[in-house]
Symmetry: C2
């Protein structure tokens, strides 16, 4: 891990690292916030997955997570949203290719060689972080928009690896959305049966979750039609999945929404990760 | 005032406006955060002046002020750092011209026609804000780096207009710094006697301040030589100026520093503005 930057923040340390990713076949950049408590031993680890067009930097700079991570004593890991750089496939659209990895393992050309974000987040980056930084085995995961989709699908498929899950305005049902169908076909191929592993609504219906789930969704979100929170709410209701699903009056899809409710999410995870 | 954007944030509203500035002779953009309390009547108003290269957006997105403004019931006004656009003079250097107005009234060509940021902040924008938004007569002012310089010099010259003043890593003594001498000569001319009105260290020595002052400065700030906090500290000490001057171990010049101590500053101002 090469240090890109380190800044003192709320008594702890906000760092950015670059490393060679075997899974993605390219250098990857990620950010980690360590609270002061990490100086005395390992702390639980909350993953925050970002949305379309974002890098590790957006939430690091704009979500205000550090104050809450310092207060509740958890580390925050912020991965990039895709592989990047020369030799990595891309698309002119903002919602496909670089900046839009959708946290899947691509099986189709030209994406397959580098777009392995699911394995990268679940396995490779986690092993790197645990080997090099003072984080414990207690991991939680959250994210915003495409990152909320990533957080939910990754947690639901790996209940042994994550103790807690939440999401901000997640893409809740991508197999039925223009934020999903195009990308899943490009990355996974036309056979829709392979898409189900990357749809939170389908996964929750099939697998359930071992604890409660926190979802915040802005009621004035400009992308409600694409996010399809109603599909996830229906499954939560029908399966009696313990959850707190909050439709927040007046809030849109921006970081002003995320930052407003960031403390609630960090506290939610900390309580479950310290259990 | 034309609305550029509005976003719900911490129960209140983060807005960006554009307006025709007579003083600067060009359209200007600024941001205002109004807490929920402003729905029931006027609230005190804290001005936040930004640093070199910034617009209204940087602190709006990265300083985390909204959470604290919501908690303590104050509005936050974030002006731009200079006039901008075609027909406005500029310089290739990042620290002169657009993005680097230094909160002065320029008297020299080519800057004089538009670079009137002192009058803009003290008079024109204040009148616009008070005429159009629910803010009371109780105003405080703070800022970061060049904006800390702006906050201190503007407050010290207008003690009747500002009840409270603080600064984050201010350019404290620009008449003796490479962050200052070049710009003051460009904007005000070679006669250094005209520069004293824009130097916080000189102004504090001459005028004092009617209340206490809060200054936060990162002890690991990469620009300490340019900021010259020691000059301001010396005047504070010699003149027995009531102050809280904090040298914060390990903190640099970034928004990670500003956001860490933003709550302290907003609380500080709110206590004095609600007095």
């Amino acid at each position: 891990m090469e240090v890109v930057s380190k800044n003192r923040s709320f008594g702890g340390e906000q760092a950015v690292y670059r490393h060679v990713s075997k899974v993605c076949g390219v250098d990857m950049t990620f950010a980690v916030y360590l609270p002061l408590q990490a100086k005395d031993g390992s702390v639980p680890c909350l993953w925050y997955l970002s949305g379309l067009t974002c890098t590790h930097d957006n939430a690091m700079s704009k979500a205000g997570l550090q104050a809450h991570a310092a207060e509740f004593g958890v580390a925050i890991v912020l991965p990039d949203t895709s592989p990047r750089g020369e030799g990595v496939a891309d698309d002119e659209a903002y919602d496909l290719g670089q900046g839009a990895g959708f946290y899947v393992n691509a099986t189709q050309a030209p994406w397959k060689p580098h777009f392995q974000m699911y394995d990268y987040v679940v396995n490779e980056l986690r092993e790197l972080v645990q080997a090099n930084l003072p984080v414990s085995d207690a991991h939680g995961i959250t994210g915003h928009s495409m990152g909320g989709h990533g957080a939910l699908t990754i947690a639901l498929r790996n209940p042994d690896r994550y103790k807690s899950v939440s999401a901000f305005a997640p893409i809740a049902n991508p197999t039925q959305s223009d934020w999903g169908r195009k990308q899943l076909e490009a990355y996974l191929g036309a056979d829709e049966s392979s898409w189900a592993d990357y749809d939170a609504t389908i996964l929750l219906k099939e697998k359930g979750w071992h604890d409660d789930i926190l979802i915040d969704q802005g009621a004035s979100d400009q992308f409600l039609d694409l996010l399809r929170p109603e599909a996830l709410a229906e499954v939560i209701t029908k399966t009696r999945q313990p959850s707190v699903f909050r439709l927040q009056e007046g809030y849109d899809h921006s970081y002003f929404f995320v930052s407003t409710f960031a403390r609630d999410h960090v506290e939610w995870h900390a309580k479950r990760l310290y259990r």
